[in-house]
């Protein structure tokens, strides 16, 4: 099994521009069921074989879509998220980077009154290897299996997945939750889902400096998770007070350091590696025990 996305996922794309079209084609090539796209004013036409709709509500009604991926520009991203939630989609993945924080504050508050789960923004997306790929990750580095991966980063997730696959360790689902301060799905949410999934046997958790989401997940893991967990925190050498690329990656007021996170995770029984090159090996070792 896997979490959130699988062979029954029916995806629509919001924002079929250059990036959106490219990744929609990549998703189709991977085997994802891309059933439509939304572009106001283009309803009734099609682009690259994908039927177009004026609104998300219309697309959902006519295609029975159950997930959406957002590639629209940052200034329109919150609106796209709300439109998808309003149409009743259970899963919305927002790839868009640079969404204003206040837009997310308002969108997050709105989403709490709906059944919609948001992944992102500013994330690579989610993939259940061999079944469904939603996002911008290179599909070919993944391998179907039983390790769940959750991470705030894009390319660092690929790095970890690459190491796992090279060692013959497949993945159930890999989620990039995004590098922004306010995101729809956090570590805790993802860890709970993986813990409840019988076919996820172990977890990789890749955090980074800033915030306390890793510590919150560690507290939960300590009390509830029996599955082996391997962790890494990026930014051990990052200077305080500087935003390291991701809007959420900042040590402010002495809080959100890699050291604190690594200590909390170690105390929760997580195998925390100091070097990002050891993620795969550490998981192999934990699975052998």
């Amino acid at each position: 099994m896997s979490i959130l996305v699988n062979e029954n996922t029916r995806l629509i794309v919001q924002g079929l521009g250059r990036e959106g079209s490219f990744h929609a084609q990549q998703a189709i090539a991977y085997g994802t069921k891309v059933v439509g796209a939304v572009k106001p004013g283009k309803g009734g036409t099609s682009q690259d074989g994908i039927p177009m709709f004026d609104t998300v509500a219309q697309a959902v009604r006519e295609t029975q879509a159950n997930a959406s991926v957002i590639f629209v520009p940052a200034s329109a991203a919150a609106d796209a998220i709300l439109e998808a939630a309003d149409a009743g989609l259970p899963l919305v993945v927002c790839i868009t980077e640079g969404v204003p924080t206040f837009d997310m504050v308002r969108a997050y508050a709105y989403l709490k009154s709906t059944k919609t789960r948001l992944i992102g923004p500013n994330c690579p997306g989610i993939i259940s290897p061999g079944k469904c790929k939603i996002g911008i990750m290179p599909g070919h580095i993944h391998k179907q299996g039983n390790v769940g991966v959750v991470s705030r980063s894009g390319t660092l997730t690929y790095e970890a997945v690459g190491q796992l696959t090279a060692l013959g360790i497949g993945q159930s689902t890999c989620i990039g939750i995004g590098g922004d301060p306010i995101i729809g799905t956090n570590f805790l949410d993802a860890v709970k889902l993986f813990n409840d999934d019988p076919e996820t046997h172990a977890l990789v958790m890749i955090g980074e400096i800033g915030g306390t989401a890793e510590e919150e997940a560690a507290t939960y893991i300590k009390a509830n998770v029996k599955k082996p967990v391997v962790g890494f925190i990026a930014g051990q050498t990052a200077p305080p007070g500087r935003r390291m690329g991701h809007a959420g990656a900042i040590i402010s007021g002495g809080k959100g350091t890699a050291k604190e996170k690594m200590a909390a995770m170690t105390a929760a029984g997580i195998t925390v590696v100091e070097s990002p090159a050891q993620i795969g090996e550490a998981m192999a070792a934990r699975l052998k025990k």
Binding site: V99, V105, A109, Y158, G162, A277
Partner: protein, 385 residues
Amino acid sequence: MKIHEFQAKQILKNYGVTVPEGTEVRSADQAYEVAKKMGRHVVVKAQIHAGGRGKAGGVKIAKTPEEAREIAATILGKKLVTIQTGPDGQLVKRLLVEETLPIARELYLGIVIDRASASPVFMASSAGGMEIEKVAEETPELILKETIRPGFGLQAFQARKLAFGLGIPAASIAQAADFMMTLYKAFEASDASLAEINPFVLTTDGRLLALDAKMNFDDNALYRHKDIHALRDLDEEDPLEVEASKYNLNYIKLDGTVGCMVNGAGLAMATMDIIKYAGGSPANFLDVGGGANAEQVRHAFEILLSDKNVKAVLINIFGGILRCDVLATGVVEAAKTLGIKVPVVVRLEGTNVQEGQRILKDSGLNFTVANGMKDAAEKVVALAK
């Protein structure tokens, strides 16, 4: 984005927040003129983005216009070293000349976006004038907090709770609540990421004012605040970082010897970490982003190499959107045009990796090709020694 105190006060004033009367000046003579016009004691405040100005001698009171000129002359053009500037200090180019106030109490007000609750949080403390991080650590009970419901703003009852909690006299409660609600409106309307009024003062004649003001803004929202964006002061930023931002490169200068060029912020941080783990020290953080082209790679190289501490460069790319062959072409072009002298270690992985490695090999240039991050870090650290 950060702005100066006088700019923050101007923005707040436009929304109706009470601030002391003052004027920004850039010369000692201007300081004299402003002080003379005010006709009373003034405070001369160095305008730099770093905090801790008072303790560093950047804030002084002048009793006469002549004294204001003298003080201005000693501060302007000097490098002010505060706890936040680092040992090199920050050059003072602007001053704020402001009225002095009869202070009865110094309090603290602050607004941040709390990540855990995904909401703005309004904070108030009776320990004004002190470093709030220190207060939070030593006496957290002195910090009062009200979580703001998105879409509602700071409510009057919340503001009153905070005002009573601060021990503000009953006669001034309505004024204090109004101040806080106006401050919150300014915060949200300008897409700020931080607002701090430290100290927030109560005067002996019962007035409430922002004696100091600090505002940071959400970079992602600056597109809808052209007026605020225009306040960016490049003098306060590292010149290499300014140069990098022109090409959409995310660069942060550090003090090590291994230059790094990486795609993705997480991998870029992890690359710094593994360099340290291998016994070296990173010279920078550099994220070339997901869709870097040959031109960006060339600019990235130029920026890396203009840091004279760089003894070797590590290029670590995990190609997803960014194809390895495109990256390799950019690296080869840049190396040829720039005539790179320092050793360059390249680690490529992901989309079109074979093609990328072939381009590097056929270039005739002396790249060290690495397999995996560990190998790459060990090789580059050895070459940087």
